[in-house]
């Protein structure tokens, strides 16, 4: 291997006759004047001057090549390998052409690859194309993981990629970008597994109901169990908002999430919502005001009071009259009604029926809390939840600073898939402001974000700018590639590779490493509940149905066409399933088609019988 051609201080080519180069591998250039220089292959090419089989314009057919091979000449042996290499640190002078090039030793590149200890970092995968150096690596880094390639688990052969979680203190927040099927959700899963193993309190907003870690994918002694390390909580069933704790702003955010609030509705909430209101007291107040407004005038309400059938009714109308007198001018009926339906919508979703105690407890115990719900509900709930938790943590830290008392609340990490729904670019969403706040000052309080999205272009730019580490999976959309190019330090060559990355291969651009690493995410220990192929599901479901029906009729075979009515009543008695004659007929015919039974013609019409 030698440096060839015109060189610069940063980039040059090397050629070899024997060794093929791989992209992103590291090489040491033994420059006679400048000493050893470390470079990374950014483009690898091969070239054979005789192939494409075109010498002086002739088209060479295979038979001739084969004949030459028989004579002992293999045209492939005239292949030369060329790599474009970029130095990690710019050299003082252009690299000396003709310098020898060799593979580095592990000790020479260790600091560039691994900047933390095994026990202190998240073991996320392997650094691609490092198997040459991996042989000499410390035992600490060996056999840490498996990768999943071409349908099977492969033991670790390359250097591990260990994410330095401690560096998040200086370089907070992680972005995970990649199109669907690129391995993004799966990368997120591995990230979460590692967080659980480290016992880091984490909140996961899971709109896809996929972050369940109870099923294990790898069955080995060393495979950790996550059963008591995480908890899935559904909004409305396990967790919800405690109405009494809501501030007017929280409530407005919530209502806004249920349906956009007008200025006048904001006003209605400000006027009608009182501190410590319960859900019932607030909704009663709204309803009564609305009913009074529907009467229209004080006179009509007074008439209602006079004509009331009972004392209760009279009292109720009196209350309505009071409300009407106080609020009618400032709260237009249409706005009041708007608030009512928004409130009811939230209530029907169960948002107000529970509280967030369980989440807080889980975080205190260093667990991973998965919050599940539809995207809309999650948006609403997360706004409230994150505000609440973030301020608890903030209050605690501020109290320490001010030397006052406050309850302990641990640092935590917020993780969400489809982050562009929670913090969209260009328009406001309730959850956006709290995410933005965390992204900008969460570092000081130990609150970090891990945001995954397939559309980085749609993610709020202020937040994107704060993501100091980015995992970039396969991305095909040109606009997203543009965004990624703008927001990270990946090179032209790397951005060109983005559409062709294999599932699970990832560029990790991290500020703490100061460069981009090409890695492959390790095989996850656990598996997503959504892994069954829907087409397999259809097939197995159909088979199940068929077998069920076959067991119903098995003992009744052979079935003559005139017996149908009896068979139907028998089935109804035994299995409580009712068929019409046509339906049964059709079902039997289908079974015959599928080869469970056969149909034969007899003297007295046809009949179905066993095979």
């Amino acid at each position: 291997m030698k440096v060839v051609g015109i060189t610069t201080q940063q980039e040059f080519f090397i050629g070899s006759k024997e060794r093929n180069f791989r992209i992103n591998e590291f090489l040491i250039i033994e420059d006679t004047y400048q000493g050893d220089l470390l470079g990374e292959v950014v483009e690898a090419k091969t070239y054979n001057r005789y192939i494409p089989l075109n010498i002086y314009g002739d088209f060479v057919d295979n038979s001739v090549i084969d004949s030459l091979k028989a004579l002992g000449y293999d045209i492939d042996e005239d292949t030369i390998y060329i790599a474009k290499v970029r130095l990690l640190n710019e050299a003082l002078y252009p690299v000396q052409t003709g310098s020898d090039v060799r593979l580095p030793k592990f000790s020479e590149i260790k600091n560039l690859m691994i900047n933390t200890k095994k026990d202190e970092g998240l073991i996320l995968g392997v650094i691609r194309n490092t198997d040459d150096v991996a042989e000499e690596m410390d035992d600490e880094f060996k056999n840490l993981l498996y990768t999943f390639e071409e349908g099977q688990l492969i033991p670790q052969r390359e250097l591990p990629y260990i994410f330095n979680i401690r560096s998040m203190h200086q370089y907070p927040h992680i972005g995970v970008f990649g199109g669907s099927g690129s391995g993004k959700s799966f990368g997120l899963r591995v990230l979460l597994e590692e967080l659980m193993l480290k016992g880091i309190p984490t909140i996961v907003l899971d709109p896809h109901f996929e972050m369940d870690f109870s099923e294990l994918a790898i069955d080995q002694d060393t495979t950790p169990s996550f059963v008591d390390k995480f908890k899935c909580l559904q909004i409305g069933i396990h967790v919800g908002v405690k109405f009494e704790d809501l501030s007017p702003q929280d409530l407005k955010n919530l209502l806004d999430a249920a349906g956009r609030l007008t200025d006048s509705m904001h006003n209605v909430v400000d006027i009608l919502f009182k501190r410590r209101d319960s859900f019932t007291s607030f909704s009663d107040r709204l309803r009564m005001l609305s009913e009074a407004q529907e009467e229209g005038t004080i006179g009509k309400i007074e008439a209602r009071i006079e004509n009331a059938d009972s004392e209760d009714e009279r009292r109720a109308w009196k209350e309505r009259k009071e409300l009407f007198e106080t609020y009618d001018k400032s709260c237009p009926n249409s706005s009041v009604r708007g608030i009512i339906w928004r409130l009811m919508r939230l209530a029907n979703d169960g948002v107000f029926s529970k509280d967030i105690r369980e989440i807080e407890d889980g975080l205190q115990n260093g667990k991973l809390i998965v919050i599940q719900g539809s995207t809309r509900i999650l948006q609403v709930f997360s706004t409230y939840l994150l505000n609440n938790l973030y301020h608890k943590r903030r209050d605690y830290k501020d109290a320490i600073y001010k030397k006052t008392q406050a309850d302990y609340f641990p640092p935590f990490i917020v993780v969400t898939d489809e982050a562009h729904n929670f913090a969209p670019k260009g328009y406001d969403s309730p959850s956006k402001s709290v995410l933005k706040e965390i992204s900008q000052e969460g570092r000081k309080y130990g609150v970090f974000l891990i945001l995954a999205t397939q559309r980085p272009t749609l993610l709020d730019e202020t937040i994107t700018a704060q993501l100091n580490t980015k995992f970039i999976f396969r991305t095909v959309r040109a606009s997203d590639i543009m965004t990624i190019k703008e927001e990270t330090d990946i090179t032209m060559e790397e951005s060109k590779r983005l559409p062709y990355l294999r599932t699970g291969d990832v560029f990790i651009s991290s500020a703490s490493m100061g460069r981009t690493i090409y890695a492959r995410i390790r095989a996850a220990y656990s598996t997503s509940p959504h892994t069954e192929n829907p087409f397999d599901e259809l097939k197995s479901k159909a088979k199940e149905e068929d077998e069920k029906f076959y067991s119903l009729i098995m003992n009744k075979l052979p079935i003559n066409d005139i017996d149908m009515v009896h068979i139907i009543s028998d089935i109804e008695k035994e299995a409580n399933i009712t068929y019409t004659i046509d339906a049964l007929e059709e079902k039997l015919k289908l079974m015959a088609d599928k080869g469970y039974i056969t149909k034969e013609e007899t003297l007295f019409g046809y009949r179905y019988k066993k095979l």
Binding site: R49, V60, Y73
Partner: protein, 327 residues
Amino acid sequence: MFTINDELKEKISNINNLLEIKYKNIFDLDKTKFRQFIEDNVGQIKKMTKLNKDKLADFHSSGGIVGVDGSNNRIGGAYPHYIEIFQALAKSTYCKNEPLFKTDIYTPLIPEHDENPLEVGEMIIEDKKNIKLANLEVEAALESIDKFKPYAIMMDGGLIRYNIYAYDKWLELKSRCEEEGIILFGVIKDIKTSVIGDLIVEKNSEYEKPIYDKEILFGVLDYGEMILIQEYANKKEPQGYASVFLRSSLQPSVIGMDIIDTQREHLEEMARLVFTLTPENSRGVPLWLDIVDKEVKISDEMMKGLLERYMDRGVYERFFISERDKR
């Protein structure tokens, strides 16, 4: 802007007419009749088949085929301000054998063997060039015998060239090949002979010399056919070569092949080897020679690069940069 001198146009069409008139009778010859003429007077027209893999594997196990070619290139201006590089290559199909290069360099500015630059004419210089190149090629072939012990040596070009320009070394090569049973043959991409042409003139007084084989054989042979030139027809015979014309590709033109006379029995076999190694849709040159040719070729860029790198700029500029280079 781009007006072309009328006189020039006229002269070109004139040449065209002259050629047409001169060759009219020959081009009008009936193909079958002409082929018969060849069969009767020159030699048998034979259909070749390609060699099979086993045969080729035999060649391989007996040492492979060595291809030998030479190349020269010059840089600089007119005589004597130029520098010329010669390079010959013997490359064995046996992959483990490193290619064997021989090089020489010459500039009239440094006279060799006490020659006086002022007295040496351009003709002599041209000869010198041919001598150097032929000698280098023969040397490379000789060395390849020592190093590779090949089954056969395939020279680029007719063997007669070596006879003329590298007589002593050539005799050595010939005798070594004969002693060690190494087949020595040359492939002539552009035939310049007039074997058949002369015979036609001999038999029919209406034609006049010279008529070259290249143009009369154009399109006469079918793909894979060869003419084994009989001794009595071959002028070259006194020099001790046996020759064959063959059409090795779908192109209608014909290439030639020489073999040393003592190895005449291998002529057909080697013709078939050439045929086997020639791509169907090519110019008719065996791929192996093309590969050797490409590897030995000294390109202008390489020439320039070499001089710039290994010659002081001052010397280079003073001697070898011509007015033309600076345009």
